[in-house]
Amino acid sequence: MHPAPSVIFFTVFSGIGFGLLAWLGLGMPSMNGLVAFVFYFIGYAFAVGGLLSSVFHLANKKNAIKSFSQWRTSWLSREGVLAVVTLLTVAPYAIGRIFLDTTWETLGLIGSVLCVLTVLSTSMIYTQLKTVPRWNSGFTPILFLLYMVTGGALFAGQVTAATYLLIALGILQVLAWRDGDTRTVNNPTDLGTATGLGHIGKVRQYEAPHTGENYLLKEMVYQVARKHVLKLRMISFITAFLLPILALMAFADNAHIGGVIAILMHLIGAVTSRWLFFAEARHAVATYYGK
């Protein structure tokens, strides 16, 4: 699938934003006043900024408001509704912490749960698609949620939790890559089933329906060479997990510096892995083009 920069940044940063808000809702960190303001500013900026960038990605923005209407059937609609409900639920809790030096724990917990449900909704948009075997896996929501919680923990300064989460996420990311590779190799869909001509023999396309580009090729038939994929997975693994873990451990006495390095490295790695999430995702329509 074409890795659109706006969608990559949207999902990474809004995920981390909701993650940070979730940690805050559980009282981690527990500071109030100005410090809380800074944390909530970052959390809201990431979450809202991410959502706004996804609206700018739309080809016909004027109908965007209608996307709240189909929550009964559509994960994309549910994501929109949940995002708004979450941000509105967290707001009074944030106001309590910033301006009133008060922590309404139950409200905080509800807010955190809503954050998780929002990101879960986002992940289901991709997971539900049978057209993309690499996404159509239990690993997809697990990864989205773990990136959310891990990135959130790093921004929330939860060093111990972040270290364990980075290890878990690193392992699961590798397992997810391998699960995706297996699904690609074992894909029952091929040009034979796509055309119904497989019973005759081996099918191949000798001429495409159009000699130039079209929307389908640009959006859904994106090819990245295997050797590039392997290199990028290495880079992502090192920057998203290895270096942040090392930074947190090496700078255990100076949590701020360790935290900043870990965050910067992790962001590079998270964006890289999200880029790969799109670039490696093979859509069923590619079959018709013999790709």
């Binding site: 000798y206 329906p209 159009h210 000699t211 130039g212």
Partner: protein, 231 residues
């Protein structure tokens, strides 16, 4: 309704009889043998002339073109649509020749006849006679033609086989040249073409031969089309 097929064509036999010496009206002497050989009243086969006048070992491959069916759906304003179906035409190569030349997807080939040479993109097609290559005709265009922009695929990757085909058959050394045409209808004998093919390495940027862009007398078409017919 029964259809009457005239298998034996009487007028043709009259020409042939004249060439055999019968009747007052006699053909020019230099055409007598040709008329005797080809104006047969019954359907006959004879080797296409080009092949009899060149070294067929040097030019062993048949090269044909096919009219793009899609281009029949009007030459007018639908051009912008039909161009997307056939904006460029590869030379389709059958499996035996493809493998013999170690062609890979994206390769180019130099194709040579007794008359000319072209260098063009190739594509593999298995459902093809093993000694025949072909392409779509009338796709290749000169840069600037048809009110197209200079990045038009027709002008860069598209090509014509025309440069390989002469109006005249090879010289026989007697000072006279026969037309490279059907002896009865005068139809140009495009399909008699014999060529040789080899990989072009490194490939050129654009199909060869390539000519300087021509200036369009009607400017260029608009960038975007979103008109409603009838409005």
């Amino acid at each position: 309704m029964p259809y009457l097929f005239q298998l034996y064509v009487e007028p043709m036999r009259k020409f042939q009889l004249a060439a055999e010496g019968h009747g007052e009206r006699q053909p020019p002497e230099h055409l007598r043998q040709r008329i005797k050989d080809t104006l047969d009243p019954l359907p006959i086969w004879y080797a296409p002339f080009e092949g009899t006048m060149i070294d067929e070992d040097e030019y062993p491959v048949h090269a044909l073109t096919q009219r793009p069916m899609a281009m029949y759906h009007s030459w007018g304003t639908q051009n912008a649509w039909l161009r997307q179906i056939h904006g460029r035409n590869p030379l389709y190569v059958p499996t035996k020749i493809w493998e013999a030349n170690d062609f890979q997807e994206g390769d180019w080939a130099k194709v040579t006849s007794h008359h000319g040479e072209i260098t063009v993109p190739v594509a593999h097609m298995a459902a093809l006679n093993e000694n025949t290559i072909w392409t779509w005709n009338a796709i290749g265009k000169r840069k600037g033609a048809w009110a197209l922009k200079e990045n038009a695929p027709e002008a860069n990757k598209g090509f014509l086989l025309n440069h390989l085909i002469h109006e005249l058959l090879p010289s026989k050394g007697d000072g006279m040249r026969w037309a490279n045409s059907d002896p009865i209808t005068g139809q140009a004998a495009w399909f008699d073409l014999k060529v040789k093919i080899q990989k072009a390495d490194p490939p050129p940027d654009v199909s060869q031969p390539s000519f300087d862009p021509i200036k369009s007398p009607v400017g260029q078409g608009p960038d975007d089309l979103a008109w409603e017919v009838g409005k």
